[in-house]
C-alpha cells in the first residue's frame, strides 16, 4: 500500500460556481487503477463525485478521462505508473474530464452531443445487397479478422478527446467514427463500399481532415489504431476506386508520395502546388480547377513565413537525402507486390520464417510501427 496524491477536476453545474480542483490522498496498492482510487474516494469520503464506470475491465468504455493530460480509461491506468509519469505533477496524478466534448458534471462529458452524433454520421449499419442468403454470407476468414480490429472499439471517446484535428475543426468526423466507417468499408458483405468512400472523401470534414498526428493511435486502449483505419479508407478510396475528391485530398496524398520518392524527405515548398497540379512553385502548371483551393491555403503559408516556421530559402531549395537510392529501393519493393498488404492486430503476419517467434507475431510492436509499415506497403499510401 502507498499513498497516492490525486488532483481531480470537479464541476457542479447546479452550483453556479466554475470548475475547481480537488486534492485527494488515497491509500491503495500501486497496481490498482485510477478508477479504483476514485471509487475509494467516493465510497469513503464523497459520493457526489461523478464518473461514468461499470465494467472496471476496459470493456464497457464508460470511464474515459484525461489523466496527466493524456486521454485514457481510468480503469486500466495503474496508480503506480501514473504517479511516476513525467507528465504527473511531482507525483500527483491529475484527472480531468475528456476534451473536445462539453462537461456535464465532474468527470462526465456529453458524448451524445459529439461522439455519437459523429458515429451516426457514417451510416453505421451494414447495407448488404438484396435479401440475405439462406445460410451465412461466405466471406474470406481474413476479411472478418481484419475488421475485427475496428469492431474492437469500445466507443470510449479517448481518441475523440485527444484528436488535434477535431480541436481545430469540431466538425471533423473524427477518429472513432471513421474507424467505425472502416468496419463497413472493409466488410465484404456491405454493398455500398464505393458510396461510403465517396461520401467520406467528399465531406470537407471527412477522411482528408486528419492530420496524421498519431494521437488517436497512442491513446486508444483497445489498439483500434483509428488513424490506420483512416489511412486505409484513403487507400481504398484512391487505390481501389480512384476517387478524386473535390477537397483534393487525393492530390495531396499523391504529392506526398511522389515528393518522398524524389527527395527522400518531404519537400514542403512543393507539397502545396504539387497537391493541386503537376508543377512546383517555380515552374507553375497548376490545374485551373484547383486554383481556388490553392488560393485558400495562402494565408496559412503566409502565416508560416511570418512566424518563421517556414524558411523560404530552405523550403524552396530542398536537399535530397544522401542515400536516396534506399528510398527508391523501398518504393520498388512495394510497387512490385501484386497485392496490398494490410497489417492488423488480429492477423499478425504469417511470415514462414517465424514459427515460435516474437517479432512479427507480436502485435506489431506498438501500432505506430504497424501503421508505418502499413503505409509503406501500400502503393498509393502516404508515407509519413
Amino acid at each position: 500500500m502507498s499513498d497516492f496524491a490525486l488532483k481531480v477536476r470537479r464541476y457542479d453545474p447546479e452550483s453556479g460556481e466554475p470548475a475547481y480542483w480537488e486534492d485527494m490522498s488515497i491509500e491503495l496498492e500501486p497496481e490498482r487503477s485510477v478508477l479504483d482510487a476514485i471509487l475509494k474516494y467516493k465510497a469513503d469520503t464523497d459520493n457526489s463525485l461523478a464518473i461514468r464506470c461499470s465494467c472496471q475491465a476496459a470493456i464497457c468504455g464508460s470511464c474515459g478521462v484525461r489523466i496527466n493530460g493524456q486521454s485514457r480509461l481510468a480503469c486500466n491506468t495503474q496508480l503506480g505508473e501514473a504517479s511516476e509519469e513525467l507528465r504527473a505533477h511531482d507525483g500527483t496524478i491529475v484527472v480531468e474530464p475528456m476534451g473536445n466534448m462539453p462537461v456535464l458534471k465532474d468527470l462526465i462529458v456529453d458524448m451524445d452531443a459529439v461522439h455519437w452524433k459523429k458515429v451516426q454520421r457514417v451510416v453505421p449499419w451494414l447495407l448488404p445487397e438484396g435479401d440475405p442468403p439462406e445460410r451465412e454470407y461466405i466471406v474470406p476468414a481474413e476479411s472478418m479478422i481484419d475488421i475485427t480490429q475496428s469492431m474492437a472499439c469500445i466507443q470510449c471517446g479517448a481518441c475523440v478527446s485527444a484528436c488535434l484535428s477535431m480541436e481545430a475543426d469540431p466538425e471533423f468526423i473524427g477518429p472513432a467514427a471513421l474507424a467505425k466507417a472502416y468496419r463497413f468499408v472493409g466488410d465484404p458483405r456491405d454493398s455500398q463500399t464505393e458510396e461510403r468512400l465517396r461520401d467520406l472523401a467528399e465531406d470537407p470534414h471527412g477522411i482528408y481532415d486528419c492530420t496524421h498526428c498519431f494521437a488517436c493511435i497512442e491513446v486508444c486502449p483497445k489498439d483500434v489504431a483509428p488513424m490506420s483505419q483512416i489511412m486505409r479508407l484513403r487507400r481504398r478510396a484512391i487505390g481501389d476506386y480512384g476517387i478524386k475528391d473535390s477537397n483534393n485530398g487525393y492530390g495531396h496524398e499523391k504529392a506526398f508520395v511522389d515528393l518522398v520518392e524524389k527527395y527522400g524527405t518531404l519537400h514542403e515548398a512543393q507539397l502545396l502546388p504539387k497537391s493541386f497540379g503537376q508543377g512546383s512553385l517555380i515552374r507553375s502548371q497548376i490545374d485551373p480547377d484547383s486554383l481556388k483551393q490553392l488560393a485558400g491555403s495562402f494565408p496559412t503559408v503566409i502565416a508560416g513565413l511570418k512566424s518563421g516556421k517556414v524558411n523560404p530559402i530552405k523550403a524552396i531549395w530542398h536537399k535530397k537525402l544522401a542515400d536516396q537510392k534506399q528510398v527508391k529501393r523501398i518504393y520498388n519493393e512495394v510497387e512490385s507486390r501484386g497485392e496490398r498488404i494490410e497489417l492488423n492486430l488480429y492477423i499478425v503476419g504469417e511470415d514462414p520464417s517465424d514459427n515460435e517467434g516474437e517479432g512479427a507475431q507480436e502485435p506489431a510492436g506498438g501500432d505506430r510501427a504497424g501503421a508505418d509499415a502499413e503505409a509503406g506497403k501500400s502503393e498509393e499510401g502516404a508515407i509519413q
Binding site: D12, P13, E14, E31, K42, A43, D44, D46, N47, S48, A50, R52, S54, C55, Q56, A57, A58, I59, C60, G61, S62, N76, Q78, L104, K105, D106, I108, M111, D112, V119, Q120, P124, W125, L126, P128, P132, R135, E136, Y137, I138, V139, P140, A141, M144, I145, I147, T148, M151, A152, I154, Q155, R183, F184, D187, L345, Y346, V348, E350, Q361, P363
Partner: protein
C-alpha cells in the same frame, strides 16, 4: 406522459433484441437503459454463443448437453425451443453484420466450450458479446422509430387498478427529472445481480434491479438459489478469464503441479461443466493443495501463439493490465468467482410473467433453460432467443388491448420517496459499507459450498442490512448525475435479490448444479426435482422489509425426452 405499446427496460442483448422484435411486430417501442446501451454488461461475454448449426451437429445434442449441464433442473420444453431456434438466430445476427469468425472455406467457424459434446460455439475473437451488442445498437440507430432513452433509471413499475402492468417510473440521470412512462406491455431485461457478491465478474451496474422490481410487484422468482461460480476468475478483482481459454487447450494445475481435473472429470478434464470445475478447484484450495493466496493456476502456454493472438487477445491484455501476468509465458493464478444467476423472474417460453402485462428476458428472467447450472455460451443465446420471443409476443398482445391507466399518484409517491432519501440526515452507514458487507456475507456463506447454519446466518445478516439500507447516508444533494442516490436505490434492489437467493438456498435440501449443500451432499430427485419459487407480498413499492416473509412454493420441472441420469464428465 410518454406512451409506448411496448416499453423495454434494459438495453443489453436481451433488451435490444426484444425492442427490435417488437418494432418488427409493428409496435411503438421505447427502450431504456440506465447506462448507454453499448456499455451494458453483455459486452463482457468473451467466449461465444452456442448453436447446432453444423450439419454434423444436431439441436437435440445441444439440448441434451444443456439438460445435463442444468443437472436436470432445466425445463426441457424451453431448452428445446432455445436449441432449435439457435441456428436461425446466429444466421440472423450474421446477416445483420456480426463479424463471426470464419473457417478456411469462409463459412462460420466454431470453438469448443465446457460441457458441450461438439464444438458449437460461434465467436468473434474474444469480443463476442461486444460485437453482437454493438451490431444490435447499429440496428437501433438504423431504426429511428424505436425510441431510445439512454441514461434513464427505472425506480418502480406501475400497475393499473386491475393489476395489469401499466408502465414504469423513471429518473433521467442527466437532470434528475422523474417521469411516468405509460405502456401496454413492459419487458424487463435488466441483466444479472452479481454485485451482491464480492468479488464478482459482473460489472458495477449488475445490481439485479429488474428482479427486485418484479419481486416488489409480487411476481414469483424461480431457481434463485442457483448462482454460478465461474472456474477462472482473477484472484484480486474477480475479472474473468474466458472459458474459451480452456476451450483452446489451457490446463489447470494445483500447487503440487498436478493437473487435478484428472481426479474429478477424467473424460472432459478442464471442459467439464462449470459447477464441476469450480467445485474441484475449491476442494483443492480447501484441502491445502492450492497456492498460498488461495488460488490454483491456469496455464495457457499449451495454446499456440498465433491462436492466442487471433482468438484470445483480450485475456492477454486483462492478465497483463489487471494481474501483472504475461500469460504467454507464465500461468495466471485464478479461483472460482461469482459470475451468473441462473434464477430470475419466472416466465413462460414467450417471456410472459405471472403478473399480467409483464415480461422478462435475459439474465433477469428464468425460463428456465439453465436450471442448476448454465453452460458456457448458452447465456447470450438465451438473451437473444427469449428476448426476441418476448418482444414479438408483447407486440402482438399489445395490439389487442387499450392503453392501461397509470395513476399519477405513483409518480408523486416515488418522487417523494427519493426526495426523502436525498434530504435525510447523514447519520446512517455509507452505501459502500452496507454493500461491502453484503458482498462479504454472500461470498462467505452463499457461495460454492453451503450449509444450513451458514445460510441462516447469512439471512440474519441480510435482514439487518435491509433495515440499515433504509437510512444510508447521502452526500450528493443535487439532481445532475446524482450517482449517490442511484447507489442507494440499487442497494435496496441488491438486498432483495440476496434475500431471495438465500431463502431458496436454505429451502433446497439437496445438492444439484450450483447448489452444493455440505449437509445434503447428494442430488435427491425424488424430493427435489422441482423448482423453488420465492414470492414477496410486500406493500408493492419500497424496499422489502425485514419482517416480510417471502412465500416459498414449488413448480414442476418439465421433462420431454430426457430422464434424469447421474451426471459425470
Amino acid at each position: 406522459m410518454p406512451q409506448h405499446d411496448v416499453l423495454v427496460i434494459g438495453a443489453g442483448l436481451a433488451g435490444m433484441r426484444a425492442a427490435l422484435a417488437a418494432a418488427e411486430g409493428g409496435a411503438n417501442v421505447g427502450v431504456m437503459s440506465k447506462i448507454h446501451p453499448v456499455r451494458s454488461h453483455s459486452n463482457a461475454a468473451q467466449g461465444g454463443i452456442n448453436a447446432a448449426l453444423n450439419p454434423e451437429d444436431s439441436w437435440e445434442s445441444h439440448a441434451f448437453d444443456t439438460v445435463k449441464g442444468s443437472d436436470y433442473l432445466g425445463d426441457q420444453d424451453a431448452i428445446e425451443i432455445m436449441c432449435r431456434e439457435a441456428p436461425e438466430e446466429i444466421l440472423h445476427l450474421e446477416h445483420l453484420g456480426v463479424t463471426f469468425h470464419r473457417n478456411d472455406e469462409g463459412k462460420l467457424g466454431t470453438r469448443a466450450f465446457g460441457g458441450a459434446s461438439a464444438a458449437r460455439t460461434y465467436y468473434v475473437a474474444d469480443i463476442t458479446g461486444q460485437a453482437i451488442l454493438h451490431v444490435l445498437y447499429e440496428q437501433l440507430m438504423k431504426h429511428e422509430e424505436v425510441y431510445r432513452y439512454e441514461e434513464y433509471f427505472v425506480t418502480a413499475l406501475v400497475q393499473d387498478e386491475t393489476g395489469h402492468v401499466a408502465g414504469a417510473i423513471t429518473r433521467n440521470l442527466r437532470d434528475g427529472s422523474m417521469e411516468l412512462f405509460n405502456a401496454k406491455k413492459v419487458i424487463l431485461c435488466t441483466g444479472g445481480n452479481g454485485q451482491i457478491y464480492n468479488p464478482t465478474t459482473n460489472a458495477l451496474v449488475c445490481t439485479g434491479d429488474g428482479i427486485a422490481l418484479a419481486y416488489r410487484l409480487g411476481a414469483p422468482l424461480m431457481d434463485m438459489e442457483m448462482v454460478q461460480y465461474h472456474p477462472t476468475t482473477l484472484a484480486g478483482n474477480g475479472l474473468l478469464i474466458t472459458e474459451g481459454a480452456r476451450g483452446e487447450g489451457a490446463h489447470l494445475y494445483n500447487a503440487e503441479g498436478e493437473r487435478f481435473m484428472e481426479k474429478y472429470a477424467p473424460n472432459k478434464m478442464e471442459l467439464a461443466s462449470r459447477d464441476v470445475v469450480s467445485r474441484a478447484e475449491q476442494t483443492e484450495i480447501n484441502e491445502g493443495r492450492g497456492f498460498p493466496d488461495g488460488t490454483v493456476h491456469l496455464d495457457i502456454t499449451p495454446v499456440p501463439r498465433k491462436r492466442i493472438h487471433e482468438a484470445l487477445r483480450e485475456i492477454v491484455m486483462v492478465a497483463r493490465d489487471f494481474a501483472g501476468v504475461d500469460i504467454l509465458n507464465e500461468p495466471v493464478p485464478i479461483k472460482p468467482g461469482n459470475h451468473y444467476v441462473m434464477g430470475g423472474i419466472k416466465t413462460d417460453t414467450d417471456g410472459l410473467c405471472p403478473v399480467p402485462g409483464l415480461y422478462a428476458a435475459g439474465e433477469t428472467a428464468c425460463v428456465s433453460v439453465h436450471g442448476g447450472n448454465r453452460l458456457g455460451a448458452n447465456s447470450l443465446l438465451d438473451t437473444l432467443i427469449f428476448g426476441r420471443r418476448a418482444g414479438a409476443h408483447a407486440a402482438r398482445e399489445a395490439k389487442a388491448i387499450a392503453m392501461p391507466t397509470a395513476a399519477h399518484s405513483q409518480l408523486e409517491d416515488e418522487q417523494r420517496a427519493i426526495d426523502t432519501i436525498v434530504r435525510r440526515e447523514r447519520s446512517g452507514r455509507r452505501v459502500s459499507e452496507v454493500k461491502a458487507e453484503l458482498g462479504r456475507i454472500m461470498d462467505a456463506k452463499v457461495a460454492v459450498y453451503r450449509d444450513d447454519e451458514g445460510l441462516k446466518e447469512a439471512l440474519e445478516g441480510i435482514k439487518r442490512l435491509q433495515e440499515e439500507a433504509k437510512t444510508v447516508a447521502i452526500d450528493d444533494k443535487g439532481t445532475v448525475f446524482n450517482q449517490d442516490v442511484l447507489g442507494a436505490l440499487e442497494l435496496g434492489f441488491m438486498i432483495d435479490n440476496a434475500e431471495a437467493i438465500t431463502v431458496a438456498a436454505l429451502e433446497r435440501k439437496e445438492s444439484r448444479g450450483a447448489q452444493y449443500r455440505t449437509d445434503f451432499p447428494e442430488r435427491n430427485d425424488e424430493e427435489w426435482l422441482k423448482h423453488i419459487t420465492v414470492t414477496h407480498h410486500g406493500n408493492g413499492n419500497g424496499n422489502a422489509s425485514s419482517d416480510d416473509v417471502p412465500e416459498l412454493a414449488y413448480s414442476e420441472v418439465t421433462l420431454t425426452q430426457w430422464q434424469p441420469e447421474a451426471r459425470t464428465y
